[in-house]
Amino acid sequence: MNTHNPLWRFAGMRPAAWFFFIFLYLPIVVLVVLSFNGGQSATLWGGFSLKWYSVVANDAEVVRAAKNSLIVATLATLISTSLATLAALGMRGRAFRGQTLMSGVLGLPLLVPEIVTAVSTLMFFSFINLKLSLFTILIAHVVFCIPFAYLPIRARLEGMNPYLLEAAADLYASPWKAFWKVTFPLLSPGIISGAMLAFIISMDDFVITYFVAGAGATTLPVYIFSSIRMGISPKINAISSIILVISIAFVALSYYVGQRKR
């Protein structure tokens, strides 16, 4: 398509796109810049300084919340990615009856509004008399991480050449050996990118965690929320910037891994 043809320049298209990207990134940039503020105010610039980062690093409550977040996200990622990988392998191949329904169930956490998942999970734990703790957070996180881990793995499997497995069988590889020698190496970029997405989603979740977190089981987003409730502060700017940069780094990495060896 000849995009240099002036006929293709629709009025307002370029300004809208500019507005879109500025609107999308301005708050993020402003937040990160303000996190390096040396003054006492959250919004008035008082010179460059890393002061608030050292305040954050020395705050025992923040460090504990960060540890909780890391523990939950790591475990939720390991569990949900394993479950999702097995499910993706099970869904591969000729369609069977009920498969559409099963894919629907796997995608359910994406469809149900977060607040609904949050309150229904809370009521469920209350119904089975399970005390709210880090463990209940973990269960909830595994559930909503499954589709995020599943979709990239499934996409990778679908793009795989089925003749490779036949070739392996022709060369007398057992199904088990064929899996580890052929399927798994080809699938691993999908698994890695799925695991990374699950990790980010778990690290970032606030709404569901907020409902199923017991006393003392504070994660970083829950901590941030309760601090914001008390008013904006340069300390929140610093914690928020750390979270943002970690997420963006992970997404960029996951994107890179997914693009490689296509």
């Binding site: 809208a16 999308l24 402003v30 499910a87 869904m91 929320f225």
Partner: protein
């Protein structure tokens, strides 16, 4: 008719089901079952001090949407909740319209770029989705507060001379919702534009159509599945959004999500919270059902 082939096939199917079983069971027990319990709670009596009275059924929670009980036990029409529903729908409709207004031209712009530039821009569209919404809503608090950067910027440009007092208003909530869901509008529209046969537009130009007509007669109709999908992806989640009204509305501009949260917090009315959640969920499922019936995959033109 148990031929060896059939047995082998059955065994393979069994193996595949076994592989899917752990994930399926996890979702059945920790997602579907809780949704079922939520429905049961919505038709239970509320407990005196929070929680519910198991085994005592009542439709009180659903009646609560419209009526409240007076002291002498008569039902009185109550518009408090209706107002919140109305506000939720209205703010979500405005958000969807705003997303469409900015999102469609942006998607068109993306679709007309060279492949390399397009991939980079698409990546930039998706990045915010993976970053913490709480943190990004907080960033908007910094921008919108009295004497914040939006105020300062507008005053610096001489557009306004006093603070706008944007934070904790409906406008702040709409800005926040727009910001949250814009990518959800751009991506589906872009996807349908990308699949489009652009030679149709060229043909329209060759036949003397101007840009407006090409847009109206060719591009918009062919992008319709994306426009509808995008509108659903924006409208539905913004209806139930909790974080944005909580932080940018300052607890004054309640939406359905906040109302649900309140029932599990200070109001201690679990059945009402469950009933509201169930109503929200039914609405979402209904919208998805209508969408999947009307825009089946393969029905790309969007004509039923």
């Amino acid at each position: 008719m148990t031929t060896p082939r059939l047995i082998a096939e059955r065994r393979q199917l069994g193996r595949r089901l076994l592989l899917s079983a752990p994930a399926m069971l996890t979702l059945l027990v920790f997602m579907l079952l809780p949704l079922g319990i939520m429905f049961v709670v919505s038709i239970l009596q509320s407990g005196d001090y929070g929680g519910v009275k198991w085994g005592e059924y009542s439709f009180e929670a659903y009646r609560n949407f419209f009526y409240e009980r007076d002291l002498d036990d008569t039902l009185v029409f109550n518009t408090d909740y209706l107002e919140i529903f109305q506000r939720s729908f209205w703010l979500s409709i405005l958000t969807t319209a705003g997303c469409l207004l900015i999102g469609f031209p942006t998607a068109l712009y993306l679709a007309l770029q060279t492949e390399r530039k397009r991939n980079l821009l698409l990546f930039l569209v998706t990045v915010p989705f993976w970053t913490n919404l709480l943190v990004r809503a907080y960033a908007w608090m910094l921008l919108l507060r009295n004497g914040g950067l939006v105020d300062e910027g507008l005053q610096g440009l001489g557009i306004t001379d006093t603070g706008l007092g944007l934070l904790y208003t409906n406008n702040a909530v709409i800005i926040g919702l727009l910001y949250t869901y814009l990518p959800f509008m751009v991506l589906p529209i872009y996807t349908s534009l990308e699949k489009m046969d652009w030679r149709l537009v060229e043909a329209a130009f060759d036949l003397g159509a101007n840009r407006f007509h090409a847009l109206k007669r060719i591009i918009v109709p062919l992008a319709m599945p994306g426009i509808v999908a995008g509108s659903i992806l924006v409208f539905i989640p913004s209806l139930g959004n909790y974080i944005i009204p909580e932080l940018l509305g300052g607890g004054k501009t309640l939406m359905i999500g906040n109302l649900i949260q309140l029932q599990f917090g200070s109001s201690h009315n679990w059945p009402l919270g469950a009933a509201l959640s169930f109503a929200l969920l039914s609405f979402v499922l209904l919208a998805m059902l209508v969408y999947s019936v009307r825009f089946k995959p393969g029905n790309a033109g969007g004509h039923p």
